[in-house]
């Protein structure tokens, strides 16, 4: 067994980087018992925290980068150890030391692209609004009802553009006076922040905040729970406060106000997957379910792991850029759980979840068993 003495300087560094709460840990193991990683591999958050307590973090190992920031362990931690902040602190230190293991390569290129173009894909900033071509989507001007902020994935990703397009279609149908910022929009920065790139996050946040202010934005509609979280919680650190609404909430409002009329029935068994950043992090559980329940014919079933207890898709905390072995993906468990329930459609409301679940669906050969859809895709089908 190795013998080591606590390393005071590292302990201080972790503290300064935001990992101060590790000191509260009394090693009860609750975090390990709830962590989704332990459903697929052996992983110990407790050990990571303990290592941090004595200044022995192994910042070059993937363990430090595994946490998907799903929020399950901090939700149940009896000592309020703030595991997400702790892991982010360790990643900040790793970045500061220039630790560059191979698995972090995609994170590096994402951050370079974010710094240059405001999106993680290496795409041109100028093409950010291309998804809206031919949809009569206006640029946002002051006085408009709401700004639609579709996020990088819905703007650029070939598979996900359709969600932004469906959203624009619904808004138009409901007669909402909305606009987009296009090239004036940058990534919200939520995920890159979780990989420890604090300066980059701040740059992106400032760009967005400036853009919002310059355009006179008051209310923002988002499709991604990660954008929601960033604007609602992270940007509060910049002393600004915009009204933020998630599409699942906004759809409910439009239906309730009679602006959006559901004209068709949808005869399918549906189950809803709570995205971590919508549910656990922001407490929005009922809004999406409320929308689905308004659709005649739709049979909503609940998975065992739902609401506060929802299972993470595996893509949060920057894991969207880090390769996870196909066999180690939580989204596989989710697809199986939904399939086991007999649901024909697995609905969610997050681009990351959508990506992960669709990957797993194909990887597991569940094409004939279940479909994965974003909530707007279903609404789009029942309003025409």
């Amino acid at each position: 067994m190795d013998t080591e003495a606590p390393i005071r300087e590292v302990i201080e560094e972790i503290k300064e980087s935001g990992g101060d709460a590790v000191k509260y840990c009394y090693q009860c193991g609750k975090c390990d018992s709830v962590c989704p990683w332990n459903r697929v591999i052996n992983f110990s958050m407790r050990k990571l925290i303990r290592e941090a307590t004595f200044g022995f973090p192994e910042i070059d190992r993937e363990e430090v980068w595994r946490c998907t920031t799903c929020g399950k362990c901090p939700q149940q931690c009896p000592r309020d150890v703030k595991q997400i902040e702790d892991m982010v602190a360790l990643r900040r230190i790793a970045n500061a030391y220039g630790v560059t293991p191979a698995f972090l390569k995609p994170v590096r290129s994402a951050s370079a692209s974010l710094a240059a173009e405001g999106n993680p894909f290496g795409e041109e900033r100028a093409k950010r609004a291309d998804w809206a071509e031919g949809l009569s989507v206006k640029p946002f001007t002051e006085g408009m009802e709401i700004l639609y902020f579709p996020c990088c994935f819905l703007s650029y990703d070939g598979q996900l553009k359709k969600v932004a397009q469906a959203t624009a279609g619904i808004l138009n149908q409901a007669g909402v006076d909305f606009g987009i910022l296009g090239a004036g929009e940058s990534c919200c920065g939520e995920s890159i922040r979780k990989t420890g790139h604090e300066a980059l996050f701040k740059q992106l946040a400032r760009e967005n905040i400036k853009s919002f202010i310059d355009h006179g934005v008051k209310k923002i509609l988002v499709s991604s729970p990660h954008c929601y979280h960033a604007f609602k919680n992270d940007y509060a650190g910049f002393k600004v406060n915009f009204e933020v609404v998630h599409i699942s909430q906004y759809l409910g409002e439009l239906i309730n106000e009679g602006r959006l009329k559901i004209s068709k029935e949808y005869h399918k068994k549906v189950t809803y997957h709570d995205p971590c950043y919508l549910g656990r992090h922001n407490g929005i559980y009922d809004a999406p379910r409320g929308v689905l329940k308004r659709i005649p014919g739709l049979e909503l079933q609940e998975m065992e792991e739902s609401r506060e207890n929802s299972l993470c898709c595996g893509m949060g905390g920057g894991r969207i850029w880090i390769d996870t072995k196909m066999s180690d993906r939580f989204s596989n468990l989710r697809i199986k759980e939904a399939g086991g329930l007999g649901a024909e459609v697995l609905v969610t409301a997050c681009p990351y979840c959508l990506t992960a679940l669709e990957d797993s669906r194909l990887g597991l050969n569940y094409e004939d068993v279940i479909q994965v859809k974003e909530i707007t895709e279903i609404i789009q089908e029942v309003i025409r």
């Binding site: 067994m1 190795d2 013998t3 080591e4 003495a5 606590p6 005071r8 000191k23 509260y24 840990c25 009394y26 090693q27 009860c28 193991g29 609750k30 390990d32 018992s33 709830v34 962590c35 332990n38 052996n42 992983f43 110990s44 407790r46 050990k47 303990r50 290592e51 307590t53 004595f54 022995f56 939700q75 149940q76 931690c77 009896p78 000592r79 309020d80 065992e304 506060e308 207890n309």
Partner: protein, 910 residues
């Protein structure tokens, strides 16, 4: 009850089984009367009224309305207790969702003979016995998560161990797993109890909190997931999961506080005086029990006596004004009558009835000579059954009564009282123990158990024929008290007794008052102990009724309850003190470590040394860059198999002090289990927040302490394994503080002999009953408080000291005490004046006296304690213990053999 159409979840049985809207709360309830609860159809919907129509006594009155009664009182004691934590509030435990997840209160009812399945532990999903059971500790406690409590509920670890032991009694093959994070067996005899539970086959204690994962849809078994340091996270399925729920404040705490205008603490319990847990923020209102925060039963009991004593101090001038004497009917002289024996065989719920065939035993009784009445009873100790016994005595003219039930230890007094109520001499009562001696020890052999029960009853019947009526003697009570020990316990107790108008002699062996507290400077709550102590000492010296003797030793103690005579030597004088009550409050000592270089290296000290040096501002300590504290030094081991209770809190207190002086000091606490029970858990977290680092070690791998020469300097190095890291940690220490055990006071053995009191296996003074008589000895008139009883915190000592004072007052406020009628007497014709009995008597109760027959042994009835030692020594059988005479005992033994002979005869015939 039979006719009531409502079936409503039985609240007493935690809603596991059903009861009627009109029902008796439980079979031993006091008062034992039916009542109607809120589920009644008439009360809810104005329907039904069936019960009113069928009641022959017209006892049901639906027109009753709540009555407001105004009571004027001089003092108030609030004892609202606690509310068990409701795990429904937190979805993560699956309670209310999964059928076989139960709370510990539910499980308590499942274990109980009066429970929903009559003492069978069954799963509500399929009414089958669970074989694999998990307990989850700290449910609702030790957490800062919303909905939980940050404090430790203090009782759950040990009640869980009890439930494990009882589960193994019910089903020896049961597999039990307890999931915890620190086992807190910090109370008296708890450590042994923990070992007992842990050593049972099939019992595992696993250090991990868990998550309740899922219910198996078919079997309804529950899967939980837990973390191990060696093998990572594991999933395991259990037939039943018990949530060890914590103690919350009483449900209506806000309302209560408003009504009585008292303050609450941040947790919703009562805000009490920092050193006196029975004192509220409002004069004249006291509290007792769990309203002060989570406490176990003994503390509830002595805090009640303590609150009583505080009331007494306030109201002593009118003591007795409103009291009424209890009056018994005149006693009937049955000495000339032929024995007419009544036998009452108790089912004890199912405790006896499930094993012993009670109706068969009753029929058997009727065949025994002189038995004129025999019947069965569900609970003989319930008020209705006692009433039945009184009625039968009168109706059938019984002059001997036998209750075949449990041990006489707890209930003999009650049944003797029942006889007095019926006008019969109480010594005509006899008890056959068919529970502890029969049904509990032979749960698997029902037939044999029934035969043994019959044997036991037959023996009692034989004995009871010879019973004689005895008279008890009333003795005067000397109104003064002697308190031995002038620490916080002794002084507090003395002041409370003196405050109620009684003279107190306070004897201290040191030249100064104060005891162990003289070495303590602060409490965790921030009390200045030295200032408190100075004030207390001043009050003691100033009290006109307290006589203080310092530098004193006790050389002899004689006498008996109400009339003790103690010889004290103080300051060169020897004198006799006469007193009615004695309080032992001699405190305890600190172990001198032989471990970890103590005594070899001056940087190694005890926790109390450290505290003193911090208080003195010793720069070596306050400027230390690194302080390592090692817990459990000299106890929780083979030599001293107990936990010293206070050391975790003491070390955390020192750590917080050091951090307050110099936040940069590295403080490490090496522990086995952190036992900051109750509110002190908050200080544990606070210390962690100040970066005090806690490292757990196992007894088989204790920390290694070495003095190493490095760069021309000697450096203390401490090496300890960290199980989560899977590494050894090496810590440099400028100071090492050892949490040395609290050990029994040096003079404890001597006092044990002088006052005829007992010590427990660890050498601490042994109370009469752990739960119900925690501040008195089995020897009447002798009381106990403070750390002489067991290590405890100052506030606990104060509470116990008031408790002892309260008990002392129940004695000193009477003018007389009653001495047992069961004492020895000498048949002068048989006495050969050998003096063997005089030598045998521990109480000096026998002496030679000149009689017309010559010099004969004679018994002083007030000194005799009826232990019968002299009987065994007497070569001629001249000295006999009344109520246990040779006739009585021999007839009982003969009766035991009688059946064996007849059984043998029966076999011979076959």
């Amino acid at each position: 009850m039979e006719y009531c159409p409502v079936k409503y979840p039985d609240q007493f049985n935690q809603a596991i089984s059903k009861n009627k809207a009109i029902h008796i709360y439980y079979s031993q309830a006091i008062p034992l009367i039916t009542y109607i609860d809120e589920s009644c159809l008439y009360l809810k919907e104005k329907k039904c009224r069936i019960c009113e129509a069928v009641c022959k006594n017209n006892a049901i009155d639906f027109n009753q309305t709540a009555e407001k009664v105004e009571i004027k009182a001089g003092a108030i004691v609030l004892a609202p207790g606690f509310e068990p934590f409701d795990p429904r509030l937190r979805e993560d435990y699956g309670y209310g969702k999964f059928a076989n997840v139960v709370t510990s209160m539910d499980y308590e009812r499942l274990l109980c003979a009066t429970g929903p399945y009559e003492g069978e532990v069954l799963r509500s999903s399929d009414l089958k016995h669970p074989h694999k059971i998990a307990w989850i500790q700290c449910v609702g406690s030790r957490q800062v998560t919303p909905g939980g409590s940050s404090y430790c509920s203090a009782v759950c670890c040990t009640y869980t161990q009890k439930q494990v032991i009882l589960t193994k009694d019910h089903d020896a093959a049961a597999e039990c797993a307890v999931f915890h994070n620190d086992i807190r067996s910090y109370g008296k005899d708890f450590e042994r109890f923990y070992q007992r539970a842990e050593s049972l086959p099939g019992v595992r204690f696993i250090r991990s909190y868990v998550s309740v994962v899922r219910e198996n849809p078919e079997t309804k078994s529950v899967t939980i997931r837990y973390a191990t340091t060696a093998d990572g996270v594991k999933e395991e399925e259990f037939d039943m999961v018990v949530l060890s729920v914590g103690l919350n404040p009483p449900a209506d705490f806000k309302d209560l506080a408003d009504k009585f205008k008292i303050e609450l603490n941040g947790h919703g319990f009562c805000q009490t005086d920092p050193v006196n847990p029975v004192e509220t923020s409002r004069p004249g209102i006291f509290i007792s029990g769990a309203f002060q925060g989570p406490v176990d039963i003994p503390e509830s009991v002595f805090s009640a006596s303590g609150a009583g004593s505080r009331c007494g101090e306030l109201l002593t001038a009118r003591r007795g004004d409103l009291a009424r004497e209890r009056v018994y009917p005149p006693e009937r002289d049955a000495s000339g009558e032929e024995p007419r024996i009544g036998v009452f065989v108790c089912h004890c719920g199912a405790n006896i009835g499930r094993i012993v065939n009670v109706p068969e035993a009753v029929e058997y009784c009727k065949t025994l000579p002189n038995v004129v009445h025999a019947q069965e009873q569900l609970f003989s100790c319930a008020t209705n059954c006692a009433g039945e016994i009184t009625d039968m005595i009168k109706e059938k003219g019984l002059n001997r009564v036998i209750v075949a039930a449990c041990s006489p230890r707890t209930l003999e007094a009650l049944f003797r009282d029942t006889l007095r109520e019926a006008g019969l001499n109480q010594y005509y009562y006899e008890m056959a123990n068919i529970r502890e001696h029969c049904s509990w020890v032979h749960p698997k052999e029902k037939e044999e158990a029934t035969r043994k029960a019959k044997d036991l009853i037959r023996m009692s019947v034989a004995r009871s024929r010879h019973l004689e009526p005895l008279m008890e003697i009333e003795l005067p009570v000397n109104k003064a008290a002697l308190v031995v020990g002038g620490g916080i316990a002794g002084m507090t107790c003395a002041l409370s007794i003196a405050g109620q108008g009684h003279e107190v002699h306070l004897v201290e062996k040191e030249t100064e008052l104060g005891g162990t507290a003289r070495r303590i400077h602060d409490t965790l709550e921030g009390l200045d102990v030295q200032a408190y102590l100075r004030d207390l000492i001043k009050k003691v010296y100033r009290h006109p009724l307290i006589h203080v003797y310092t530098g004193a030793a006790i050389s002899d103690a004689a006498g008996y309850v109400g009339n003790f005579v103690t010889v004290v030597r103080s300051e060169g004088r020897v004198f006799e003190i006469k007193h009615g009550a004695t309080v032992i409050a001699v405190g305890a000592d600190i172990y001198t470590p032989a471990e970890y270089l103590y005594g070899e290296d001056e940087r190694v000290m005890t926790h109390l040394d450290l505290e003193e040096r911090i208080a003195k501002g010793d720069a070596k300590v306050t400027n230390a860059a690194s302080v390592v504290m090692i817990q459990c030094v000299g106890c929780r081991n083979e030599d001293r198999n107990y936990c010293s209770r206070i050391c975790c809190s003491e070390s955390i207190k020192n750590a917080l002090k050091l951090k307050a002086i110099n936040p940069g000091t590295d403080v490490y606490i090496l522990f086995r289990d952190i036992r900051t029970y109750g509110y002190n858990e908050d200080y544990y977290r606070e210390a962690a927040g100040k970066e005090v680092r806690f490292i757990r070690y196992e007894p088989h791998d204790p920390p290694l302490v070495e003095a190493v020469a490095e760069g021309g300097k000697s450096i203390l190095k401490v090496t300890a394994t960290d199980y989560v890291l899977g590494k050894k940690l090496e810590l440099d220490a400028d100071i090492i503080a050892l949490a040395a055990a609290i050990i029994p006071a040096a003079g404890a053995r001597e006092l044990e002999n002088l006052f005829k009191v007992g010590l427990n296996p660890d050498g601490f003074f042994k109370e009469a009953h752990v739960k119900l008589r925690p501040v008195e000895f089995a020897a009447e008139g002798v009381y106990l408080c403070g750390i002489a009883h067991y290590p405890k915190l100052i506030k606990e000592t104060v509470s116990q000291a008031y408790g002892a004072a309260g008990r002392v007052l129940t004695l000193l406020s009477s003018d007389t005490v009653t001495a047992s009628g069961s004492i020895c007497a000498v048949d002068e014709n048989k006495c050969i004046s050998c003096g063997a009995c005089i030598a045998a008597c521990k109480y000096g109760a026998i002496e030679f006296r000149e009689t017309p027959l010559g010099r004969k042994a004679a018994v002083n009835p007030v000194l005799c304690k009826g232990d019968g030692l002299c009987n065994a020594k007497c070569p001629t059988g001249a000295i006999q213990l009344k109520h246990f005479t040779d006739d009585e005992i021999l007839s009982q033994i003969d009766a035991a053999l009688l059946e064996e002979e007849s059984a043998e005869r029966d076999q011979a015939v076959v």
